[in-house]
Symmetry: C2
């Protein structure tokens, strides 16, 4: 297990920024506050702190030391949170495995990250069985079990997680590492090519935590979150550390609820039973929640939900606000740790009516503190904040991945000219709000002009018959590309659904000058469902394949 | 003007922590929010941002560049805040001069810090006149004037502040400095010896800002401060950057009110007129405010006031709470940037009655995030959190001065064994709250035992006839030292004041076991006033001199 330190110079002033120190504050401030796992387990922070030490002691007994890599395959759990603190604080690297990968992708990431130990939930043993013969660096397997039964498996299990903790020392002397020591890694999957590894240091994760707290606690608006909130993630912990929020809410010593697998019934049960006030998820999950008939009878008022991963359509925003869910957009990428912007309302907007607020809540957001963000034209020139000049979003902050693991070529494209190139296109309005209008690769080029697929989706989502929508560019001899809208109607609208009516609905926006005439889609196609990627985003590559022709 | 960079290595990941970037967020979030100077001037953040650029342009025209030192002598003002941002962001060092220094101390600090430029309020021209012939490095003088008149002075003035700004470019391209570049310096005056210079880097000030926001905004309790607060400092900006709060409140884009000289009438007028909700001051100022008859008729409810500099006596705390001023303790030193602890109430304490809360509010406090704090015995062993084991307070955080400027000997004493030694003694209670019981040099050693002068002061302050009190050790042949209490009676209690009654009052605490018997003072002396240092702290050295014998 080779050392893997980045810039191992002594830290300035002898006090490095380290993940281990984030855990000190809640252990003093709210040691009796709870961390909850489904309806199966409850721990106080005091117990949690001891379990983090036991996990480190146990991992050390398996040979884990500075520079080792410890991978995790689990649903969102207190155990995952224990790994978030124990593994990096030992000087090891936490590899959070995306459990929705194909077997080929899975073994590629395990070998590419050089995992030494894998902690695996019994549910994912079949995935490991399929690839275990191709392990190149894995030495130990730790079983995570909710059922407490011994599973039938050909994976060579060394020890069960709770047994490992029970047999380990309850204290651990975490080292004073260089703050630039690599802390976490995980792989981002596009729709093409092999997964790419990103990585973050202690310094980056600590600064990200501070900046997010500053933005979410320091500014008095609808986004306000503090230690009195009850937190439940609904974006997976393997995906950009659940947007870094577990570090945020642990430092604040808030009550935390880890829901395991995302079953709507369990999510809603935990939400109500534990009085959850703060969550984050992709639009798909929010859509699933607000369109469930059961939800209409529940009191979800005051639930702050940050939406990321893809744009928050205005129709969905309105549906959530109607249920008194306090919903708004956050923006970031795997490469950015992830938080870049939050759609905070400015003080004067807090009195605005719902319709006006929706426009802001669905904006991509204002840059977080210490995030430098520009929109640039094709020549690299920064565009003005005029609400219309559209170009690629580039960023600088202290918490961006330095590049892709062992992939200098793709790293160079990401980091052209010292700024991270997001591959997103958008504009900044006069008030400073970023609006992503599309992915560079999804924008529809028609007759020499650009049409934003996201803008069209936003408009169509506002039609009362529409449940979900995706707009893609389809090859056209005359115009190069033309927009086509794929629409999933609401359940009670399937029978009477009129494709022509949607086109007329969009055409009215063009008549009003909101949309260019050439932006009205040629075709609206009714579909039963939209193809999604492994992390629940629209898979436009798949759609283009299906509808090309 | 020589370069003066500390650890000029390239910062990790190409994104250093810099003061200039703190100003970005409010310029986007609340550009129309106001920064106010007395009843003389109001600026929006947008204007403020431009003035910071103009100041940098103007200073550059005077020869200021990276490594230069720019000193300021002013009351608390928007101009001082402009210097807080412009000077360090240029790569120069801001020297905040204590305007209460003696002429000898003043010229010592100006020459020792190697000031290149001095910005001086017209009120302090006589101070400069007395020492100007001894300047060794000063090249330019900028006049700060509230009266807009040309003062009669022998100080060679180069330009007036507003004229400098008016003639300078409204934009400035602040450089990307190394984050360990020295940003500020100032001198701490003890009761003995020459002033000692401390210094802080960009990294330290940015991290201090983030940590203070995390503590003051992230935790939901009586200490909660956010962007909706209206801020007015009542500890001088020359004294540890007004406890760093101007950086905090600027990053949050809050309304700020700078009161100039601390005149009680003006302070109260601004408090009410501008609806100030957050301030900080030393106990002396709070005492002055709450004991003013005028105050009893004013509505000061909800005013959050952090008390530092010396202990908050319980009697004063109660008097302030009776006026519905939300008062509590903060702790730090010039050497610590300064915030180390805040007496935050834990969630379960928010329902406690006033008497119980007072005990917590008068505690020295809970360590801020990323502050490692221990109480150690004479052998350097950490003492348990038992509420009684008393020793020296030692700390580590990312924002401690590296040492005293050009004084390796004193630096070494400060930084023994890698921890900063505060010279304060105290204990930590079972709930994690630090309680400073005395300065190592003020503790009274009697018959081989220690008596805390602060503890005695706290008890005596609770007697209804007492306005102010100081306890000192006076030499005693038999016991080594014995405690003597100097008491300023309340105005309406002067006539009937009984020194014996105070002794009996204290003796009751000894009877109840709160205080050791040998802790009851031998003498209680009625005095008209207590000697104070230049920053308003009790000058016990002076008292010991007066009462020795």
């Amino acid at each position: 297990m080779a050392a893997r330190l980045i810039q191992p110079t002594p830290s300035a002033y002898g006090f490095p920024l380290l993940i281990k120190n984030l855990l000190r504050t809640p252990l003093i401030y709210s040691p009796d506050q709870e961390i909850i796992y489904r309806d199966q387990a409850r721990f106080t922070y005091r117990q949690f702190g001891e379990r983090v030490c036991r996990l480190a002691s146990g991992l050390e007994s398996l040979g884990v030391g500075p520079g080792a890599t410890v991978a995790v395959m689990d649903w969102d759990s207190h155990r995952y949170l224990e790994c978030f603190f124990a593994v990096p604080s030992m000087g090891a690297v936490l590899h959070t495995i995306n459990i929705r990968l194909s077997p080929e992708q899975l073994i590629y990431t395990i070998n590419h990250a050089e995992d030494d130990v894998i902690l695996v939930n019994e549910e994912f043993l079949p995935m490991l069985e399929a690839v275990k013969d191709q392990f190149s660096t894995v030495k130990k397997i730790v079983l995570i079990s909710d059922t407490k039964t011994t599973p039938q498996t050909t994976v060579p299990i060394d020890v069960e997680y709770e047994a490992l903790l029970a047999g380990a020392a309850p204290t651990y002397d975490f080292p004073d590492l260089d703050e630039n020591t690599m802390a976490t890694t995980f792989y981002t999957t596009g729709t093409t090519g092999l997964p790419k590894g990103v990585f973050f240091s202690h310094r980056q994760l600590v600064l990200h935590t501070y900046a997010v707290i500053t933005n979410m606690s320091g500014f008095a608006n609808q986004a306000n979150v503090n230690s009195a909130d009850v937190y439940m993630p609904i974006t997976p912990m393997f995906h950009v550390h659940a947007w870094g929020m577990p570090y945020v809410m642990t430092l604040l010593g808030a009550k935390q609820v880890y829901p395991g697998r995302y079953e709507p019934e369990m999510l809603l049960k935990l939400k109500l039973q534990e009085k959850v006030t703060f969550s984050h998820c992709v639009p798909t999950i929010l859509h699933m929640l607000v369109s469930s008939p059961a939800v209409q009878k529940l009191d979800l008022s005051g639930w702050k939900v940050v939406i990321g991963g893809s744009a928050l359509p205005r129709g969905l925003c309105k549906a959530a606000l109607d249920l008194k869910i306090n919903v708004y957009t956050g923006y970031g990428m795997s490469e950015t740790c992830p938080v870049l912007t939050l759609a905070m309302l400015k003080p004067e907007m807090l009195d605005w009516d719902a319709e006006e607020q929706i426009k802001i809540r669905c904006r991509t957001g204002l840059p977080a503190t210490n995030v430098l963000l520009e929109v640039r034209d094709a020549n690299g020139k920064a565009l003005p904040n005029d609400g219309k000049s559209t170009g690629e979003v580039v960023v600088r902050t202290p918490w961006l991945t330095q590049g892709y693991v062992k992939d200098p070529e793709k790293s160079e494209a990401l980091w052209a000219d010292g700024w991270l190139h997001t591959g997103d296109i958008g504009f900044i309005d006069e008030l400073g709000y970023l609006q992503i209008t599309d992915r560079l690769k999804d924008v529809i080029k028609t007759g020499g002009e650009w049409v934003s697929s996201l803008e069209l989706e936003d408009i169509i989502s506002r039609h009362p018959a529409v449940s979900e929508v995706a707009v893609i560019g389809v090859a056209d001899e005359k115009w190069g590309e033309r927009p086509v809208a794929l629409v999933v109607p609401k359940p009670d609208q399937v029978a009477g659904f009129q494709e022509e009516e949607i086109k007329q609905f969009v055409a009215k926006f063009a008549d009003d000058g909101v949309l260019p005439k050439y932006g009205v889609p040629d075709r609206v196609v009714k579909v039963d469902a939209l193809p999604k990627t492994s992390v629940g985003k629209l898979n436009k590559k798949e759609m283009r394949k299906q509808f090309q022709g």
